[in-house]
Structure formats: C-alpha cells, structure tokens
C-alpha cells in the first residue's frame, strides 16, 4: 500500500498538513558506481514513484484527534533509511514533542541505505535520541505500526520502541534477513518463521490489526482534557443514524463539578458524571462498566484534581 493511500486511510479528509516536502538526499560520501551513481538512482526513483523520499511526514486529525504521523514507503528504494528519512522523522518527533501531539509511525523498510554508508547507521541513533526525549522525558504516546516488510535498521530502532506496537497480519518482520540467517546457520529458514503471527506468539508485539480496523482501533472513543487550551472534547461512536458520531466540546471553565452517583442494590449502578453549566450532566463511564467503589473514587479524584472542580456525591 502506498504511503499516500495509507495517509488517506488514517487521516480525516481536509486536515493533512505535510512537513518537509522538499528534502532530498545528496551524495555525501560520493558513492561511485559504474552503471548508475547514487544521485541518478534517486532521480529515477523519484520520477518512477512520484515521491521525493521514502517517508512522508506531517500532522493531521484522526477522527478529530490532532496527531503527528510519518509513513514510510517501500516503493522508494526499498524503503531504505538514509539521512533524509532520519532527518524527517527526527524533525517530526521534535515537532510532536513541542506541541504535545501523539505520534504514529508506519514502518516499511528494507534496512539502512548502503549508499550513504555509516551516515545511515547513525540515523538509527538520531531517531532513538529524539524518541528518548519524547517518550521517557516528556512521557508522550507513540504507536508504531509495522507493515510488510520491516527489516534491519528500522526494526532495531524506532520500529520496536513504540509504547504500543501494532503489526499487520502476515507481515514480514525481522532484524536479519532470510539470506543472512541462512548463510550464518547453513540451513534453510523454515517458512513462516519471520511472520507477524509467529513473532506475536513469541511475544514481540502488542496487537495484530488488519487495515480496515486500523483507524477505529487507533481512535475510537476518547475523552480529551486539554488544560492549556481550556477545552474538553468527548468523542464517541454512537448508534447509526443521527447520533452516529458524537463529538462534544466544552470549555473547561464551564465544568462545574464531578458527580458520583451510586445506587446500591442488586443491580448496583455506579456512574461518574461531569456537570457542565448549560448542558447538564454528561456521563463519563461506560454503561456496561462495573467499577468498584474504590476505583470510581480514584478516577473521580484524579479528574477533579486535574480540572480543579469539586466532587459531588449522590
């Protein structure tokens, strides 16, 4: 699947803003080949695929959530990671760090670009450094999606560093390619030993999600409390019909209190409401969710502390 298609699949229409579109590789180590120099190779791939590089980065909205997303493309030189790919992804991560956006990186690569020598190797370290800042220092959320094929340097750097790693079904995911393993072991590699399902069984990633469910898995149903802008967004998928897409937005200063309603009995009902001036009470817990009283109190306390509103108990 090409990167543009994937962006269309995930991002809401009309919200995509690309970054660094004009970054092109240069032949830093002057890699001379008799038939085709590196520069010519890049040129021909650019014309053939219509892409400037192996990755497209930018920001957009995923069902209303603003996110930063980077998508790699296997068609451009086998998705190989060179200086430009590293730089674009690093800039994307830095942008997301500064704006507190969640990050999604879709990986599809054959490895590091050999024509750039050790420079492409150091891109792994560069991206890992940016991710350290993003994940460990700022504690933001990063999802990496591994598609077919994802091998080599990408697996050994940002591919496997996601807070949640999602793989596509039947994807070829590996660190050392099949040929290398066969050379080292002098035996043939059995079929299916580097597929997503097999590695999933060995505990390497969190989820296997097919493409048609991907968008919903990434975005369905969330409550967003943004203290900096002072707004609260609540997004839910409702019933088909007029209320299919429920998207509520209020100002944080309109939130009057958090209300806990507990009705004991055989069918105990413990619901958390958020009182909004002018809109009444909006329930926050799911209808089938059965929290224990202690859990409910904890949640209410956290939320009330964050929003700085009082708690009412019924």
């Amino acid at each position: 699947m090409s990167s543009s298609d994937r962006i269309e699949l995930l991002i809401d229409p009309g919200t995509w803003v690309p970054m660094d579109e004009d970054m092109v590789s240069v032949d830093t180590i002057e890699f001379p080949l008799e038939e085709e120099s590196y520069k010519d190779r890049i040129d021909s791939y650019q014309r053939k695929t219509g892409l400037t590089e192996a990755v497209q980065t930018g920001t957009g909205q995923l069902n209303g959530i603003p996110i930063a997303i980077g998508v790699m493309d296997f068609q451009f030189m086998g998705g190989s990671m060179g200086s430009v790919v590293g730089e674009k992804i690093t800039r994307l991560i830095e942008y997301a760090t500064n704006r507190f956006l969640p990050l999604i990186l879709v990986c599809a690569s054959g490895g590091a670009r050999m024509q750039e020598g050790s420079l492409s190797l150091m891109q792994m370290a560069k991206i890992a450094s940016a991710l350290y800042d993003y994940q460990s220092k700022k504690k933001l959320f990063y999802v990496s999606i591994l598609t077919s094929p994802t091998t080599g340097g990408v697996t050994a750097s940002f591919g496997m560093l996601g807070d949640i790693i999602i793989a596509e079904p039947n994807a070829y995911i590996a660190f050392a390619g099949k040929r290398v393993i066969e050379q080292t072991l002098n035996t043939t590699v059995p079929e299916g030993s580097q597929t997503a399902e097999y590695l999933f069984h060995k505990g390497q990633f969190d989820l296997i999600v097919p493409r048609n469910l991907l968008k919903d898995v990434l975005s369905s149903g969330y409550d967003r409390f943004d203290r900096k802008e002072g707004i609260v967004c609540i997004f839910r998928w409702g019933f088909p019909g007029k209320n299919r897409r429920i998207f509520l937005q209020f100002f944080m200063k309109d939130v009057q209190s958090i209300r806990i309603e507990v009705k004991e009995g055989i069918y105990a009902r413990r619901v958390l409401y958020m009182e909004i001036r002018g809109h009444g009470a909006i329930p926050l817990t799911r209808t089938d969710e059965n929290l224990t009283p202690r859990e409910l109190e904890q949640k209410a306390a956290e939320l009330a502390y964050f929003l700085r509103v009082p708690i009412e108990v019924f």
Partner: protein, 709 residues
C-alpha cells in the same frame, strides 16, 4: 560398581557414608584395606549374599573454577584476578602467528635476515653489514606498507586473529577489574563482557564485545556476535552505572549481532532499539572505543557515546564489505572496491564527523605490540574522561544528543520538480464544516446583541454584522449549488456560465439567445426549487440573510444620518464662530435680555429674523460645500423662519376670535342668556355695589361651559 556383602563383621573404621563420600572424591570403590579386612573377618562366617546393596558412583562434573588451589593474595591486580577465566593462553594453545596476504613480502625479507644470521653464527664470518642493511630494508618496507594501507587491508588487520581483544586491553590498563555476569533473565552471553575496573584510581564501568584468541575460544565466545541476552546484560550494567554514577567506557569489536532464528524470536531488534534509546538518557559520560571492527546495529547498541574513538586500523560499517559487494556489485569479490567506497576507515569517519578521534597503532598492527596499544588507549580514555567530567548532566545529555543530531546530509529549501511529487499527498484545503446549528445560533446571538445595543444606545460593531453576512452568503451559495445539483441542472448551469464568461471577455452585448437561455434556466430553477431536498435550509438561510441585510442597511443609514448631523453641527458651530456673526448674535442676545419682561419689540423681532436668515444662508452655503442636496430643506427652513412670527400672531388673533365666538355660541345655546339679561337688569337696579354672590352665580356656569370647549 562395588557390591558390599552383608557380613556380620561391620566395616571397622568405616561407615556407608564414608564410603559414599570417598567415592564422590572420584575414588572408585571402597578402600582396599576395608575390603581386605572384611574378607578376612568374614571368611569364617557364612557369607549371606542374599541381599545386595548396589551403590552407583556418580561421576559429578568437575567445575572449572579459575582460581588455583592456593590463591596468592599478593598477585598483581589483586585477589579479583583469581575470579577471571581470562588467563594468558597456555603455551600449547597459543595461536600461530598468522600473516596476511599483503604481508608476504615482509615475511620473505625476515626469512632472509634469519638465514643470514644463522649463516653468520655457523661460519663465524662477519656478515653484520649485510644484516644491518637487510634490517634497514625490512624496516623501510614495513613503514612503506603500513603507512599506505588500503581500506580493505585495514579491514583484514582489524579482523586479524592475533589482534588483542577487549579483555587483553582491560587487564593491561586497569589496576583492578572484576567481571560481572548475567542479564538476570535467562542467560549469560559470553560475547559481551561487562565489569567494573579502575584506571589511575578512577572507577569506570567497562563493557565490550569479546572475541576469542584461538578457535576454541572463538567458538565459546560466538565470534563476538551477541545475542539479545548480551544486549540486555549491557543494558542492566548501564542502568547500574547510571544509578551509581560510574562513567562508562565501551569497547566495540564485533562483526555484527548474531543472526539466528532463536535471536529473532528473542527480539534482537527490540534489544538493540532499547539500548539505543536508553543510552541517550544516561547521566554519566560515555566513551566508546572501536578496537576492531564495528558491525552495524550490533556495534551501535553499545556505541551511542559522547565520544567515539577508533584505533587506527579499526573499521565501522553499516554492512560488511563482502555483503555490500554482493548486493551492489553482485559479487563478493568486489569487496575491496566496496570497502573503498563505503568509507569505513577511522580517518574517513573522522572526516564525516562520526568518529571523534583516532588512536595510533604501532607499525605492523596492534598485534605487533599489544602493550603499547593498550597504553595509547589508556591515554585516550583519560583525556576524554577529563574533558567530559567537567560537564554537568544537562550539558552531557545535550552533547550526546547533538553529536548524533548533526549527522546526515540532505538538501532542502530548493524547490523540487513537481513531476517528482506526483504521488505525494498534498496539503488539502481545510473544509469549513459550519453546521446548520452553529449558524442559527450565531444569528440568534447577533440579534440578541443588537437588541442589547439598541437598549443601551451603543453602536453595534460593524464587523460582526459584515462577517455574519459573508458567512451566510457563502452558505446560501452552497445551498443553491446543492439544490441545482439535486435537480440535475448542474451541467446546463456550467455550460451557461462558460458561455457567459466568454461573452464578457469579448466585451459584447449579451446575445439575446443567451439571455433567453438564462431566463429559462432561472424559471425552471425557481419552479423546481421548492421540490429540492434542501429547500427548507435554503429558505431559512435566505430569511436570515435578508434580515441581516436589513439590519445592516438600517445601521448604515443611521450611521449616515449620524455623520451628516455631525457634519452639519460642525459647520453651524463654524459659522457661529465667525466673528461678525458672533458680534451681531451677541448684540441681539443682549437686546433680548433687556427686553425680557416686555414683549419683544417689533424691531427686535425683525432683527432676529434677519439674523436667522443670514445664518441660514451661511449654513446652506457651507452645507453645499459638503456636496449635499440642501435645496428642499433650505426652502422649507426659509419659509418656516419667515412665517413664524407673523403666522403665530395671526394664529393667536384668530384663536382669540374663535374663542370669543365660541363663548357667544355657548351663551346663546343655553338658557344662560335670559339669566344674563335678568342679571343685567338687577345690576342696573342694585346700583353701584355688585354683589359678589351674583358674580359667583354667573361665574360658575360660564367657567363650566368654558371647560367643555
């Protein structure tokens, strides 16, 4: 296997447990003495051999501990050296000196020197000149060779079997070193060695890849190719060093991470990625030294350092020259070319700013003089650590981040040929999704505001109304286009539009046929619009639009009149302030004041009128200069001003007459007349003194009647 016969004579001096213990010492069987005694003692009695106890001697594995039986506490390096398995190789296992391809000429020279020496010893003749010259030649050849090494030759030297390994160096440079093992989750990888040691009194955490010194060791060490367990061991040690504040020194010497199915399952990529990420968060200085070959990710996993130093003949590559040649040149024989073009040697990497320094090696490679090399490494470590210890943690982290941030060559800013961007997803126009509810609300708000403004007599901000009108116009346009689409008239509309634009361009009068077409389309549309699905919303929006435009126009008018009033007032003030008029006005004022009590003189009135006329003329002139149409107003004003005093007078007189007339009528109409005649007679009779009561009698009804007029 020993069968113990159960004889009444016990085993003197021994017991079963004794026997077992002795067997565990590796001594098979029972000590002969006891056997002998037993037999001796038990020969008389009947040997009851019915029950046999068979004790199997288990050959327990003899653990290969590195310490000798009598450890010497005063050995160089302290007691800790007894714990290490890494001992100098015993003589029988020492590797044979290996010569590389390109060293062959040197070997020939050496052989010759040895031959000459032998001959000198045998014959006793003096061959010293020859020997000296040969030696000189040898030295020269050596220098020539080793100062002009090609990259592939350096790769071969880096992979030299006799090259000193990590532990060789460490035991040469540290006073004390203890190796720490295990990743605490399954395995102790021999390919990565970690430990704590001191150099010149300063304590560091060491870690590095360890290759073997001979084939047996190599197999044990897996040729320096770590598994995920090794990386996790290194990670654990890094956390430990960070926690306690030891600076970290890493030695890189690996062909790459071990490429095996089992390693894939264990998460080789993930282990390396984790190491990479963690290393950028360690708050202690990190120095990495490449002592042999640095193979791609496997090497980088412990190589994200503040300073990356390389030995002169060390190489660092993303793919080994053989693999690269196989992929790009389709044959592994092109390895020398690959090594050349990939720029993997120390000096090249220094130029690319990936490496921070080069440590010189002795002529002939590190294996020629390991101790000297180790000393060089020690100096390099000391120097870098001196520099890095001066930085505080913030600076250190930043320094490490920046070192890698600047690596990479690309070009941006120059516009790219759009043909190359065909498939890239371009920036899209943000869809202004204004929902119906929002518009209605906004209009309501606006109305509310207007009412409030009117009440408080404050001008409604123009911009708001304008904005709303713009928005509504857009919405109405959209609705119209949707209705047209729904009615299937879109194509005709588009065609007509095209024609119209063409006609406009050519600047001709509209073709009557075109006009007809447009009219027809309009009629159809108006007829069919009520049937269109979005008619309701269209209508409501149109209504809102008309209302708002009304508001706008009234506010505009108000504004206009306000400005006009202001302008006229200004002009009036100006005229009044003109000196001559001012004087006259003041005089008039004074005169009016003087005659305040009495009626205004006719003269004065005339003066007043004249004054007014003058002022009005001036005003009219000034207003004309404002370009306004004052004709009507002026004439009206004039008439009014002229007629006012006369009019009023006449009217007053008329009124008086009227009133009198009315009174007469009233009197006539009622029977008051008779009464009045009677009264008159009585008054004539009564004489001079009219009675007040009589006056009263007349006063009341008349006054009453007066009220009804």
């Amino acid at each position: 296997m020993a069968s113990i016969s159960h004889s009444p004579v016990g085993f003197v001096g021994t017991s079963a447990s004794d026997l077992l213990r002795s067997s565990s010492n590796g001594v098979n069987g029972i000590p002969l003495r006891t056997l002998g005694r037993a037999q001796f003692g038990g020969s008389s009695s009947t040997t009851r051999r019915d029950s046999r106890v068979v004790a199997k001697i288990r050959k327990v594995k003899k653990h290969d501990h590195p310490w000798p039986d009598n450890p010497d506490p005063n050995v160089k390096g302290g007691i800790l050296t007894h714990l290490s398995h890494f001992k100098p190789l015993p003589e029988n296992e020492k590797p044979r000196p290996v010569t590389l391809e390109f060293e062959k000429p040197l070997i020939n020279l050496e052989k010759k020197i040895i031959d000459v020496r032998k001959m000198a010893n045998e014959t006793g003749l003096d061959f010293s000149d020859q020997i000296i010259s040969l030696e000189n030649k040898y030295q020269q050849a050596l220098k020539d060779l080793y100062t002009r090494l090609t990259p592939i030759q350096r790769v071969y030297i880096a992979r030299h079997p006799n090259r000193p390994t990590f532990l060789d160096h460490v035991f040469n440079i540290t006073e004390k070193f203890v190796e720490l093992h295990g990743d605490r989750s399954g395995y102790d990888d021999p390919a990565i060695v970690t430990g704590i040691g001191t150099i010149d009194g300063r304590r560091y955490m060491f870690m590095g890849h360890q290759k073997g010194r001979n084939t047996k060791e190599n197999v044990k060490r897996n040729f320096g190719m770590p598994t995920p367990h090794g990386y996790r061991k290194a990670l654990r040690m890094m956390y430990y060093a960070d926690h306690h504040g030891f600076p970290i020194v890493t030695f890189i010497d690996t062909p790459g991470a071990y490429a095996d199915l089992k390693c894939e399952e264990l998460g080789q990529g993930e282990a390396i990625a984790n190491n990479l990420r963690t290393m950028f968060g360690l708050k202690v200085p990190i120095v990495s030294i490449v002592i042999g070959e640095g193979g791609s990710g496997g090497a980088l996993a412990i190589g994200c350092a503040n300073k990356l130093i390389m030995l002169e003949n060390a190489v660092f590559y993303v793919a080994s020259p053989e693999a690269c040649a196989a992929i790009l040149w389709k044959s592994a024989k092109a390895a020398p070319q690959a090594a050349e073009t990939l720029r993997i040697t120390a000096t090249e990497l220094c130029k690319l700013q990936i490496a921070d320094g080069v440590i010189p090696e002795p002529l002939g490679g590190a294996h020629a003089d390991p101790t000297w090399t180790s000393q060089q490494i020690k100096n390099a470590i000391n120097e870098s650590m001196d520099e890095l210890m001066k930085m505080d943690t913030e600076e250190l982290l930043k320094h490490r981040m920046l070192k890698f941030r600047k690596i990479g060559g690309f070009q941006e800013g120059l516009p790219v040929d759009p043909k190359k961007k065909v498939n890239m997803k371009m920036k899209e126009e943000p869809i202004i999704r204004t929902s119906n509810l929002n518009i209605e609300d906004e209009v309501k708000n606006l109305m509310q505001k207007r009412l409030n403004a009117k009440e408080s007599s404050v001008e409604l901000p123009e911009s708001d109304v304008n904005e709303m009108i713009e928005k509504l116009k857009r919405e109405v346009d959209r609705e119209y286009s949707e209705a047209v689409k729904a009615m299937g008239l879109k194509d005709r509309l588009v065609l007509l539009r095209e024609e119209f634009s063409k006609v406009n361009l050519r600047d001709q009068l509209m073709h009557p046929a075109l006009k007809d077409k447009i009219e027809k389309l309009r009629d159809e549309f108006t007829q069919g619009v009520s049937a269109a699905p979005n008619y309701e919303s269209l209508k409501s929006k149109l209504d809102m639009l008309t209302e708002l435009s009304k508001i706008k126009s009234t506010s505009e008018k108000n504004k206009k009149s306000a400005t006009l009033k202001q302008a006229v007032n200004k002009k009036f003030v100006e005229i009044m302030n003109r000196p001559d008029i001012k004087e006259k006005y003041k005089a008039l004022e004074a005169a009016i004041e003087n005659s305040a009590g009495q009626d205004l003189d006719h003269e004065l009135k005339e003066e007043l009128v004249k004054m007014k006329k003058e002022i009005e003329l001036e005003l009219a002139g000034a207003i004309k200069s404002l370009g306004l149409d004052v004709e009507v107003v002026k004439s009206k004003a004039k008439e009014i001003s002229e007629q006012i005093p006369l009019d009023v007078k006449i009217k007053v007189e008329e009124l008086n007459e009227e009133i009198k007339g009315e009174i007469e009528n009233v009197i006539k109409s009622t029977d008051l007349k008779d009464k009045i005649e009677l009264l008159k007679l009585e008054v004539a009779k009564a004489g001079k003194t009219p009675d007040v009561a009589i006056g009263w009698k007349f006063g009341k009804p008349i006054s009453k009647r007066w009220f009804y007029i």
